[in-house]
């Protein structure tokens, strides 16, 4: 994938809800893009359209270059409670019928990368919320994605855990040159993580602002960061 383009995409659900209308944006290879908007603005729907889980009824989603291997992380860790961390991280590989030894090696490596060395045999109920989310990210990484779609992955976590996972996610995405489309309703989080923040209007959702942010690394306490955060917040208020 060189670039992903959504042009004038619209989606109406069976129950008559117009979730999206005239949604257009581009994502370049290696970019970290956040979709920021109020609850119910169609952010998740946009992500599901990109994933191919649902199809749009207006407009087009165009992949310049081949459709990349994708990885998915939801708001809930959505782990299999009957499987240990390694088996959970291995899921995408098992579904592709990868040989067990190779799948185990890749899943273990993915767990190590999210800081869960030694937790391979732990069951989800033995892990904290943050650790479960790490397993969920490891599962996405095990698929070796070029595009990572994340739907409010850290919304249910406390501030401190969230900040740690934000840093780890950035590092992982940069190391592997992974493109990320990140859905959130947190101004702080989107400002900290993204190359670009796309602000969405309430339903039917479309992009009302496309804010490019200064280069990383960013200091959450710096004056520049506060200014950037204010720009994003102002755009969000204007959209609503």
């Amino acid at each position: 994938m060189n670039r992903l383009s959504l042009t004038q995409v619209g989606k109406r659900f069976d129950n008559g809800t117009q979730a999206l209308s005239g949604l257009s944006f581009d994502v370049a290879q290696g970019e970290f893009v956040s979709l920021l908007g109020p609850s119910g603005c169609g952010k998740s729907t946009a992500l599901r359209l990109i994933s191919g889980l649902i199809t749009s009824d207006q407009g087009e989603i165009i992949w310049h270059g081949a459709r990349p291997q994708m990885g998915f992380v939801f708001q809930e860790p959505t782990l299999m409670p009957w499987s240990d961390a390694l088996t959970n991280a291995r899921l995408p590989l098992d579904l592709q019928h990868l040989p067990r030894a190779e799948a185990n090696a890749r899943a273990a490596a993915a767990l190590a990368r999210v800081g869960l060395n030694g937790f391979e045999e732990a069951y989800p109920r033995e892990l904290s919320g943050g650790m479960k989310m790490r397993v969920s990210i490891a599962r996405a990484l095990a698929a070796q994605p070029k595009l990572l779609l994340m739907d409010e992955p850290f919304a249910a976590l406390d501030e401190i855990t969230r900040a740690g996972l934000n840093d780890d996610l950035l590092a992982l995405a940069q190391q592997d040159d992974i493109t990320v489309v990140f859905v959130t309703h947190s101004v702080m989080e989107s400002t900290y993580l993204s190359d670009r923040v796309l602000v969405m209007s309430p339903r039917p959702g479309r992009i009302t602002a496309d804010i490019a942010l200064p280069t990383r690394p960013r200091d959450r306490l710096s004056r520049e960061f506060a200014a950037a955060q204010r720009r994003v917040a102002a755009a969000l208020l204007e959209a609503a």
Binding site: F72, T78, W82, L91, R125
Partner: protein, 267 residues
Amino acid sequence: MNRPSLLAKMLDSLFPALLGVALLVLWQWIVTAEQIPPYVLPSPLAIAEALIANFPSLMASLFATLRVTMEAFAVATIAGIAVAVLFSQSRLAERALYPYAVILQVTPVVAIAPLILIWVGFDRVETALVLIGALVAFFPILSNTTLGLKSADFNLMELMRLYGASRWQILWRLQLPSALPYLLGALKIAGGLALIGAVVAEFVAGSGTATGLAWRIIEAGNRLEIATMFAALGLLAALGVAIFAGLSGLEYLLLRRWHESALKRPS
């Protein structure tokens, strides 16, 4: 350490046993003191004597009943899971067949038993007994497993689809494990029902052809050997308890690592 001491634990499990012994003593005392005739209520000692005197033949009957129960249970389990999987794969099959499964359930199986015996034939009584036991045990397995297969985490199902899972992969890796706690709960009910079905079927099958404990109860009743009747009844109860304990053990083994029901919480 806040754990209950070993002594307290032993007392805990000793208590029901002590109560049982006390009741037996009371029973023995009342029967002796009131001089209740043994054909009305035999004393525990008389029952024990009857058990020992008829031990080989009662054991043979016990194993006959056990075999029918286990076969009925196995047939019901396999059929129940198979039909539940069919329902999960095809809404049409579920809509078409489920009402008939309910009718099968609400019709007292004792009422069908004579018909089944005639159809299967009195030369193959054991097959008929297994079939009747299986019919009684079938429904809870079907309905619970169907519910369990439907209770799979929807987000996890979407995730698997996104990673290109086939419907069989979703069934095997997601729906069946999700249904496991429901299935195990149903098996505990079905194990008891299979025993009830086997006993009822034997009552219906009646004279001569049957060899299980139910027949021994009828036979002993006809001969007014009430102590033997109680001995057979005691063995049936023990069999029921053993089946329940075995299935509870299986449940614990399969769920203890991950399911909420097996969680130990600090109290």
